[in-house]
Symmetry: C2
Amino acid sequence: MPEPEIRISAAVLVIGNEILSGRTQDSNLAYLAARLNDYGIQVREARVVPDLEDAIVAAVNSLRARFDYVFTTGGIGPTHDDITAECIAKAFGVPLVIDDEIAEVLRRRPAPPEAMEARMRMARVPQGAGLIRNPFGPHGFHIGNVYVMAGVPQVMRAMIDGLDGQLRRGQTIRSRSVTADLPESRVARRLGEIQAASPHIDLGSYPFFRDDRHGTTLVMRGSVEAELDAMLEQIRRMIVELGGTPTDEQRT
Amino acid sequence: MPEPEIRISAAVLVIGNEILSGRTQDSNLAYLAARLNDYGIQVREARVVPDLEDAIVAAVNSLRARFDYVFTTGGIGPTHDDITAECIAKAFGVPLVIDDEIAEVLRRRPAPPEAMEARMRMARVPQGAGLIRNPFGPHGFHIGNVYVMAGVPQVMRAMIDGLDGQLRRGQTIRSRSVTADLPESRVARRLGEIQAASPHIDLGSYPFFRDDRHGTTLVMRGSVEAELDAMLEQIRRMIVELGGTPTDEQRT
């Protein structure tokens, strides 16, 4: 079955002071980007905003108008700094309501009354939201084109993995990569020509310095395998003609 | 000497398809956020955009209007996909010019004529820009409140480290943290009360699951050391009162 030719875009919105302070290194964006590409969805922008209502509401409304999907991570726990649910409700102009199914999940794990009351914060979803399954505890939710997930990587991964088959599917982008033992400037002009001749393929050039030598990894991304293979062959030939050796070839 | 009481804000703009495809895990934001806080500057938003002119120009113009500083990483090499310099020039409405000092640095390392021509792309800066020192090669630049740095972490770090003392200095945010062997929901209500009583301090709660047990790390961030110490003491007492043991205390 041929893949659909439409491109479906997404933005990722990471919510949390701990990412902006440098205390925590975000790893959710890289996982989400790769997983969404498996689903035929390309991440075209990412933002990190603090745990502040105005910042979250403004980012959600800006991104959901510009991209097919928005995936948020963070801020859906039981404490005072978890304000994502109310911000999404505000962005959509709907009230927060208690979701019976999430409440049921929360009641299953015993806790003192005070703790249970705090956990019930996690049952609040914007009116009209659907659920995103979480095998470890309370579910996330989606409303309109916005998908709201946990910030804890283990939980976020289970949530996005569980969305397989539930999102609109567009083109999956495939890639080829090859490394040249040549500095970036040596390949620059030829790369520019190769890119100009094949504007449908995104050709990226990533320099590195390792074991006292300059090298460059060339990455091709596109939806048509045959075009990628042809460009990979061109680039491999270019590396040899410039006196280098192509290595570390990869296809995904 | 007492610290100045003004807050100085920054945004980080990460430029590069490789971050949005998930191929490369960004580590520049976390380093920049911590380093800028040492300089008395707080990162309040971060964005990742692809190597596309419209996306870069729009993000630069939006962020530079809203924050005291903007720091960009990526897209300043010698190849066709390095378009940051022209995008910044376009955002500021000025032409690109050759910077003699960068050109001199580039000429120092011998290269075949074709490679040298490609490297001279890196000498182009927006008219009126100042330089950001790079001990490894061509300098970055700054114009207005926008600082343009390399994407390669080793080079980016040298560039931001070299800006020590050259940026406006505001409050440095200090932090305290302590870990409770209690699930987040157990501490939630009391944390909310503690936060409400001290709105100047940002109190964050970060749950984790380790060795089959739920735990929570509490992080306090603010500019007044005595206030932070007082809140840390309150939270330590709260953990004990709830039947837990406070551990892993940290001060920065």
